[in-house]
């Protein structure tokens, strides 16, 4: 199964909506352990993506994703701006010039994006960050695809593992970002960054699911 350029644009549009719908929820999660702006900042960034999309939606997928990354970096601020910005820019880099994506492209994009986040944030799995949703999702995606389970099922499984990663962040203390200043007091609270990462992965899964129906 291939994803086309218009699928990518549609998925980005769905992400804008999911972030908008969860603006308050993400901000409340952040209020408990951070500084209460995660949803507000992401919503500002993805609204800017929607506004600027017409300027680059006719380019190739790589260019679209790089532009999305640049818009996020220059509008979100905080820690999530450089992190999500880097994620989209790195994804764009590995699919430069392409107008369709196959399963290998999707794995390569996700891998490049995640390693960008790890470099930029100097974080790893278990630090109570977005990586705790993304890494298990990537591992599951690769495993499911290598077993030949098909994109729809693989992304759905990846989203499930991302969700389990989000739940796991409740049980651990933060080692990165503002929440880290709470140390043990951050235990019991779900990480807002992992939550927003899960929401985006889930959005991709839901889109692919609809596509195959």
């Amino acid at each position: 199964m291939l994803l086309t350029k218009s699928d990518v644009v549609n998925i980005l549009d769905d992400i804008v909506k999911i972030v908008e719908d969860n603006r308050q929820y993400l901000t409340e999660l952040d209020a408990a352990i951070g500084d209460a702006d995660h949803g507000i900042n992401l919503d500002r960034g993805f609204k800017a993506v929607r506004d600027k999309m017409p300027q680059f939606s006719d380019k190739d997928i790589g260019a679209i994703l790089k532009n999305v990354g640049m818009v996020l970096v220059s509008t979100v601020g905080g820690a999530s701006g450089p992190l999500y910005g880097t994620f989209f820019m790195r994804m764009g880099n590995v699919v430069s010039g392409k107008n369709t994506l196959d399963e290998n492209d999707i794995i390569a994009m996700f891998e490049a994006g995640l390693s960008g986040i790890k470099e930029r944030g100097k974080a790893q799995a278990g630090d109570k960050t977005m990586i705790d949703a993304m890494e298990p999702a990537l591992n599951e995606l690769k495993r499911a695809l290598s077993e030949g389970r098909g994109l729809k099922e693989a992304i759905e499984a990846a989203a499930n593992d991302a969700y389990n990663g989000v739940l796991m962040t409740k049980d651990i203390a933060a080692k990165k970002g503002r929440a880290s200043y709470l140390g043990e007091r951050s235990i019991g609270h779900q990480d807002p960054g992992a939550t927003s990462a899960y929401l985006m992965i889930k959005t991709v899964a839901d889109y692919v699911d609809k596509l195959q129906q």
């Binding site: 500084d35 702006d37 970096v73 905080g78 080692k175 503002r178 140390g183 007091r185």
Partner: protein, 332 residues
């Protein structure tokens, strides 16, 4: 939410406009980005100083743009670090040929955004150095944290590095003195009430009537622990015990002292705190060389305060005493 605003989305823009109307002889704004620079920038032959952070800490940071302190302040969204493109424009606007020093508070977002901007400016051939302020002793260096936060003590870094730059020092020398300040700088704060970020519309955390939050940062984020309200003397003693033992400050040391309001603490109470800090330090035979009481690094309307001590030597004293002329910090 009761606030003197028009629209939560326009707070930073409108605040910046009002700031520029108030201080037209000091400041100008760069086109299309929320960056405020010294009217005369770039100052030829002077190292440029760029700082900034989320808005909501007024008068920090734009209030410290002017002679003897900063050349540019980047205004992020409320409590959110500015973006790399903003900081990049600031660096370009203040580079007078001798390079630019970035003064960054140690928050993950600030560090990442400033470092991305630094990479961008270096690609243009601009010399850029950075220092990261981490004066908050509330949070121990532990496996959990990325080092300590930068809070109100940052103003002393602006002042002293600014004075050094104004003397015509080289980038390395300005960075060196800024690092000396950071090494000798310790702060800690507490809050009585939370604040409301306009875009969120409700308090960032809640405290019962008889509770206080100790070790608060400057973003309304929770502190290290919560306890029952006690009197000014006891609160000051709790903060001072942590601050003084941390460097540590010793018998015979000379210090600069800042008692900083977080936005909603009356000056009368800050003076009461200052009396307690003075008596505490007298008891330890630590001599206060210069005292600053007021609002230097606020957290919107959060009620509470922070104490900062900077251990001085002759060089730091001279630079602290040097003249400065900015909207929020003037010294003859």
């Amino acid at each position: 939410m009761k606030k003197l605003i028009n629209n939560p989305e326009e707070v930073v823009k409108e605040m910046a406009s009002g700031l520029l109307y108030a201080y037209p002889t000091y400041l100008r704004k760069l086109d299309n980005v929320d960056v405020v620079v010294r009217k005369s920038s770039p100052v030829e032959g002077k190292v440029g100083l760029v700082s900034g952070g989320g808005s909501g800490h007024e008068p920090a940071h734009a209030g410290y743009v002017g002679k003897g302190m900063l050349d540019a302040a980047c205004l992020g969204a409320v409590f959110t670090s500015p973006t790399p493109d903003q900081i990049y424009e600031a660096i370009k606007a203040v580079d007078g040929g001798k390079g630019v020093l970035l003064i960054i508070k140690n928050y993950t977002g600030d560090v990442m955004n400033f470092e991305m901007a630094k990479e961008m400016a270096e690609m243009d051939g601009i010399k850029v150095s950075e220092v990261i302020v981490n004066d908050d002793v509330a949070v121990e260096n532990s496996t959990y944290t990325q080092g300590r936060r930068g809070i109100a003590g940052t103003v002393f870094v602006h002042k002293i590095a600014g004075a050094k730059a104004e003397e015509g020092a080289e980038l390395e020398e300005v960075k060196e003195v800024a690092e000396k300040v950071i090494k000798n700088l310790r702060s800690m704060g507490m809050a009585f009430t939370p604040c409301i970020v306009p875009a969120a519309g409700k308090p960032s955390f809640t405290l019962d009537e008889d509770e206080i939050e100790i070790g608060i940062g400057i973003h309304g984020e929770p502190g290290t622990h919560r306890e029952n309200i006690k009197n000014a003397k006891e609160i000051v003693a709790e903060l001072m015990d942590k601050i003084v033992s941390d460097l540590p400050f010793n018998d015979g040391d000379e210090v600069a002292l800042m008692v900083n309001g977080l936005g909603a603490t009356p000056l009368s109470e800050l003076f009461i705190a200052n009396k307690e800090v003075n008596e505490y330090l007298m008891g330890k035979n630590i001599n206060i060389y210069k005292t600053f009481v007021g609002e230097y690094m606020t957290s919107l309307e959060m009620s509470g305060f922070s104490i900062t001590l900077l251990k001085l030597d002759d060089e730091l004293k001279g630079l602290l005493d040097a003249s400065a002329d900015t909207p929020a910090f003037k010294q003859l």
